[in-house]
Amino acid sequence: MELRMKMPKLLQTLPLLILSALPLSAHAVEAGEPAPAFELPLLNEAGENVSLAELRGKVVYVDFWASWCPPCLVSIPLLNELRDKYVAEGRPFEILAVNVDSDPQAGIEFLLDEPVNYVVASDPVGKTPALYGVPGMPTSYLLDAEGRVRLVHEGFKRSDIDMIEAEVVKLLEELE
Protein backbone atom coordinates (compact mmCIF):
# COMPACT_ATOMS: atom_id res chain seq x y z
CA MET A 1 0.00 0.00 0.00
CA GLU A 2 2.72 2.38 0.97
CA LEU A 3 4.58 1.66 -2.28
CA ARG A 4 1.50 2.40 -4.36
CA MET A 5 1.21 5.80 -2.69
CA LYS A 6 4.83 6.57 -3.40
CA MET A 7 4.80 5.57 -7.08
CA PRO A 8 3.20 8.74 -8.53
CA LYS A 9 5.77 10.86 -6.75
CA LEU A 10 8.59 8.82 -8.18
CA LEU A 11 7.02 9.13 -11.61
CA GLN A 12 6.83 12.90 -11.19
CA THR A 13 10.56 13.05 -10.81
CA LEU A 14 11.13 10.99 -13.94
CA PRO A 15 11.01 13.91 -16.41
CA LEU A 16 13.55 15.70 -14.24
CA LEU A 17 15.83 12.68 -14.35
CA ILE A 18 15.49 12.42 -18.13
CA LEU A 19 16.11 16.14 -18.59
CA SER A 20 19.26 16.01 -16.52
CA ALA A 21 20.57 13.25 -18.77
CA LEU A 22 20.15 15.30 -21.96
CA PRO A 23 23.44 16.58 -23.28
CA LEU A 24 23.85 20.28 -23.91
CA SER A 25 24.64 19.76 -27.56
CA ALA A 26 26.35 22.41 -29.63
CA HIS A 27 24.75 23.88 -32.70
CA ALA A 28 25.48 21.81 -35.78
CA VAL A 29 26.34 23.88 -38.84
CA GLU A 30 23.96 23.22 -41.72
CA ALA A 31 23.80 24.06 -45.41
CA GLY A 32 22.93 27.72 -46.02
CA GLU A 33 24.74 29.02 -42.93
CA PRO A 34 28.02 30.93 -43.02
CA ALA A 35 30.95 28.67 -42.15
CA PRO A 36 32.38 29.54 -38.71
CA ALA A 37 35.84 31.08 -39.02
CA PHE A 38 38.83 29.28 -37.55
CA GLU A 39 42.60 29.44 -37.51
CA LEU A 40 44.71 26.37 -36.75
CA PRO A 41 48.34 25.27 -36.82
CA LEU A 42 49.44 23.14 -39.75
CA LEU A 43 49.76 19.43 -39.02
CA ASN A 44 53.20 18.91 -40.46
CA GLU A 45 54.85 22.34 -40.26
CA ALA A 46 55.40 23.57 -36.74
CA GLY A 47 54.86 27.27 -36.15
CA GLU A 48 52.71 27.92 -39.21
CA ASN A 49 49.00 28.59 -39.15
CA VAL A 50 46.21 28.40 -41.67
CA SER A 51 42.89 30.20 -41.47
CA LEU A 52 39.69 29.58 -43.34
CA ALA A 53 39.49 33.29 -44.20
CA GLU A 54 42.63 32.97 -46.40
CA LEU A 55 40.62 30.84 -48.81
CA ARG A 56 37.72 33.25 -49.23
CA GLY A 57 36.94 33.66 -52.92
CA LYS A 58 37.52 29.98 -53.64
CA VAL A 59 35.23 26.98 -53.45
CA VAL A 60 36.53 25.28 -50.30
CA TYR A 61 36.05 21.72 -49.11
CA VAL A 62 36.62 21.54 -45.34
CA ASP A 63 37.24 17.94 -44.31
CA PHE A 64 37.37 16.74 -40.69
CA TRP A 65 39.30 13.47 -40.46
CA ALA A 66 41.30 11.26 -38.09
CA SER A 67 43.76 8.45 -38.64
CA TRP A 68 41.59 6.05 -36.56
CA CYS A 69 38.57 6.50 -38.84
CA PRO A 70 38.61 3.98 -41.74
CA PRO A 71 36.15 5.83 -44.04
CA CYS A 72 38.25 9.00 -43.62
CA LEU A 73 41.28 7.14 -44.91
CA VAL A 74 39.29 5.91 -47.91
CA SER A 75 38.36 9.50 -48.75
CA ILE A 76 41.83 11.07 -48.56
CA PRO A 77 43.43 9.80 -51.82
CA LEU A 78 40.16 10.45 -53.70
CA LEU A 79 39.93 14.00 -52.35
CA ASN A 80 43.58 14.62 -53.24
CA GLU A 81 42.89 13.47 -56.80
CA LEU A 82 39.81 15.70 -57.03
CA ARG A 83 41.73 18.70 -55.70
CA ASP A 84 44.65 18.17 -58.11
CA LYS A 85 42.32 17.85 -61.08
CA TYR A 86 40.66 21.26 -60.58
CA VAL A 87 43.74 23.09 -59.33
CA ALA A 88 45.67 21.90 -62.42
CA GLU A 89 42.89 23.45 -64.54
CA GLY A 90 43.44 26.72 -62.66
CA ARG A 91 39.98 26.61 -61.08
CA PRO A 92 39.45 28.36 -57.73
CA PHE A 93 39.05 25.21 -55.66
CA GLU A 94 40.89 24.16 -52.52
CA ILE A 95 40.64 21.55 -49.79
CA LEU A 96 41.36 22.44 -46.18
CA ALA A 97 41.58 19.32 -44.05
CA VAL A 98 41.40 19.37 -40.25
CA ASN A 99 43.01 16.41 -38.53
CA VAL A 100 41.39 15.72 -35.14
CA ASP A 101 43.73 13.00 -33.86
CA SER A 102 44.41 13.69 -30.17
CA ASP A 103 47.98 12.67 -30.96
CA PRO A 104 48.85 14.63 -34.14
CA GLN A 105 51.76 12.24 -34.76
CA ALA A 106 49.24 9.56 -35.80
CA GLY A 107 47.93 11.88 -38.52
CA ILE A 108 51.44 12.84 -39.64
CA GLU A 109 52.41 9.18 -39.98
CA PHE A 110 49.34 8.40 -42.07
CA LEU A 111 50.15 11.29 -44.43
CA LEU A 112 53.71 10.00 -44.86
CA ASP A 113 52.22 6.89 -46.50
CA GLU A 114 49.46 8.80 -48.29
CA PRO A 115 50.77 12.30 -49.02
CA VAL A 116 48.32 15.01 -50.04
CA ASN A 117 48.82 18.29 -51.85
CA TYR A 118 46.24 20.24 -49.89
CA VAL A 119 46.69 21.98 -46.55
CA VAL A 120 46.12 19.85 -43.45
CA ALA A 121 45.55 21.64 -40.14
CA SER A 122 45.81 20.03 -36.74
CA ASP A 123 43.21 20.33 -33.98
CA PRO A 124 44.09 17.76 -31.29
CA VAL A 125 41.74 19.28 -28.69
CA GLY A 126 38.80 19.31 -31.11
CA LYS A 127 37.68 22.92 -30.75
CA THR A 128 36.94 23.31 -34.47
CA PRO A 129 34.79 20.15 -34.81
CA ALA A 130 32.95 21.32 -31.67
CA LEU A 131 32.43 24.73 -33.31
CA TYR A 132 30.93 23.04 -36.37
CA GLY A 133 29.02 20.43 -34.34
CA VAL A 134 30.52 17.64 -36.44
CA PRO A 135 27.93 14.83 -36.28
CA GLY A 136 30.12 11.90 -37.38
CA MET A 137 33.50 11.03 -38.78
CA PRO A 138 34.37 12.03 -41.39
CA THR A 139 32.21 15.10 -41.97
CA SER A 140 32.96 17.63 -44.66
CA TYR A 141 31.57 21.05 -45.50
CA LEU A 142 31.58 22.40 -49.02
CA LEU A 143 31.75 26.20 -48.98
CA ASP A 144 31.06 28.60 -51.81
CA ALA A 145 33.29 31.57 -52.60
CA GLU A 146 31.42 33.72 -50.04
CA GLY A 147 32.23 31.27 -47.29
CA ARG A 148 28.70 29.92 -47.02
CA VAL A 149 28.15 26.22 -46.33
CA ARG A 150 26.43 24.66 -49.34
CA LEU A 151 26.76 20.98 -48.54
CA VAL A 152 27.34 18.99 -45.36
CA HIS A 153 28.52 15.47 -46.04
CA GLU A 154 28.71 12.94 -43.21
CA GLY A 155 30.53 9.63 -43.61
CA PHE A 156 32.33 8.53 -46.73
CA LYS A 157 32.16 5.64 -49.13
CA ARG A 158 34.09 5.35 -52.37
CA SER A 159 31.11 6.20 -54.59
CA ASP A 160 30.43 9.50 -52.75
CA ILE A 161 33.25 11.19 -54.61
CA ASP A 162 31.14 11.50 -57.79
CA MET A 163 28.40 13.40 -55.96
CA ILE A 164 31.01 15.62 -54.26
CA GLU A 165 32.67 16.37 -57.59
CA ALA A 166 29.30 17.29 -59.12
CA GLU A 167 28.64 19.73 -56.27
CA VAL A 168 32.12 21.23 -56.61
CA VAL A 169 31.60 21.74 -60.34
CA LYS A 170 28.21 23.34 -59.68
CA LEU A 171 29.77 25.87 -57.28
CA LEU A 172 32.69 26.54 -59.65
CA GLU A 173 30.23 27.25 -62.46
CA GLU A 174 28.41 29.78 -60.28
CA LEU A 175 31.66 31.75 -60.17
CA GLU A 176 32.05 31.96 -63.94
Binding site: S20, A21, K157
Partner: protein, 71 residues
Protein backbone atom coordinates in the same frame (compact mmCIF):
# COMPACT_ATOMS: atom_id res chain seq x y z
CA UNK B 1 12.14 9.04 4.53
CA UNK B 2 11.29 12.09 2.47
CA UNK B 3 14.80 13.42 2.92
CA UNK B 4 16.22 10.09 1.85
CA UNK B 5 14.16 9.96 -1.36
CA UNK B 6 15.03 13.57 -2.15
CA UNK B 7 18.67 12.76 -1.68
CA UNK B 8 18.30 9.67 -3.90
CA UNK B 9 16.70 11.74 -6.66
CA UNK B 10 19.42 14.38 -6.43
CA UNK B 11 22.09 11.70 -6.49
CA UNK B 12 20.36 10.13 -9.50
CA UNK B 13 20.38 13.48 -11.31
CA UNK B 14 24.04 14.02 -10.52
CA UNK B 15 24.97 10.55 -11.76
CA UNK B 16 22.89 10.87 -14.93
CA UNK B 17 24.68 14.11 -15.74
CA UNK B 18 27.77 11.94 -16.14
CA UNK B 19 26.15 10.12 -19.06
CA UNK B 20 27.58 12.46 -21.68
CA UNK B 21 27.83 11.18 -25.25
CA UNK B 22 31.32 10.86 -26.69
CA UNK B 23 31.65 13.39 -29.50
CA UNK B 24 32.32 11.97 -32.97
CA UNK B 25 35.82 13.44 -33.12
CA UNK B 26 36.78 12.07 -29.68
CA UNK B 27 36.39 8.39 -30.55
CA UNK B 28 40.04 7.67 -31.24
CA UNK B 29 40.39 5.47 -28.18
CA UNK B 30 37.04 3.76 -28.72
CA UNK B 31 38.08 3.00 -32.30
CA UNK B 32 41.08 0.95 -31.21
CA UNK B 33 40.74 -2.72 -32.22
CA UNK B 34 40.99 -3.91 -28.60
CA UNK B 35 37.91 -1.83 -27.73
CA UNK B 36 35.66 -3.86 -30.04
CA UNK B 37 33.52 -6.72 -28.73
CA UNK B 38 34.82 -8.77 -31.63
CA UNK B 39 38.16 -7.54 -32.88
CA UNK B 40 38.37 -10.08 -35.72
CA UNK B 41 36.43 -8.52 -38.62
CA UNK B 42 36.00 -11.85 -40.42
CA UNK B 43 34.72 -13.65 -37.34
CA UNK B 44 32.42 -10.71 -36.62
CA UNK B 45 31.00 -10.92 -40.14
CA UNK B 46 30.48 -14.67 -39.71
CA UNK B 47 28.65 -14.15 -36.41
CA UNK B 48 26.45 -11.54 -38.05
CA UNK B 49 25.66 -13.93 -40.88
CA UNK B 50 24.58 -16.64 -38.43
CA UNK B 51 22.52 -14.13 -36.45
CA UNK B 52 20.77 -12.76 -39.53
CA UNK B 53 20.03 -16.28 -40.79
CA UNK B 54 18.47 -17.30 -37.48
CA UNK B 55 16.51 -14.08 -37.01
CA UNK B 56 15.47 -13.78 -40.67
CA UNK B 57 16.37 -10.11 -40.41
CA UNK B 58 19.28 -7.89 -41.24
CA UNK B 59 20.84 -4.73 -39.92
CA UNK B 60 20.68 -3.02 -36.58
CA UNK B 61 24.02 -4.31 -35.39
CA UNK B 62 27.15 -2.20 -35.33
CA UNK B 63 29.94 -2.48 -37.84
CA UNK B 64 32.02 -5.58 -37.38
CA UNK B 65 35.68 -5.40 -36.58
CA UNK B 66 35.79 -1.72 -35.71
CA UNK B 67 34.87 0.34 -32.72
CA UNK B 68 34.29 3.76 -34.14
CA UNK B 69 31.05 3.03 -36.02
CA UNK B 70 31.95 5.96 -38.19
CA UNK B 71 29.18 5.32 -40.64
Amino acid sequence: MKLLSTLLVLLGCALLAGCAPVAAWERGTLARPEMAFESDALEGALDDHIYFSKEASSGGNSTSGGGCGCN
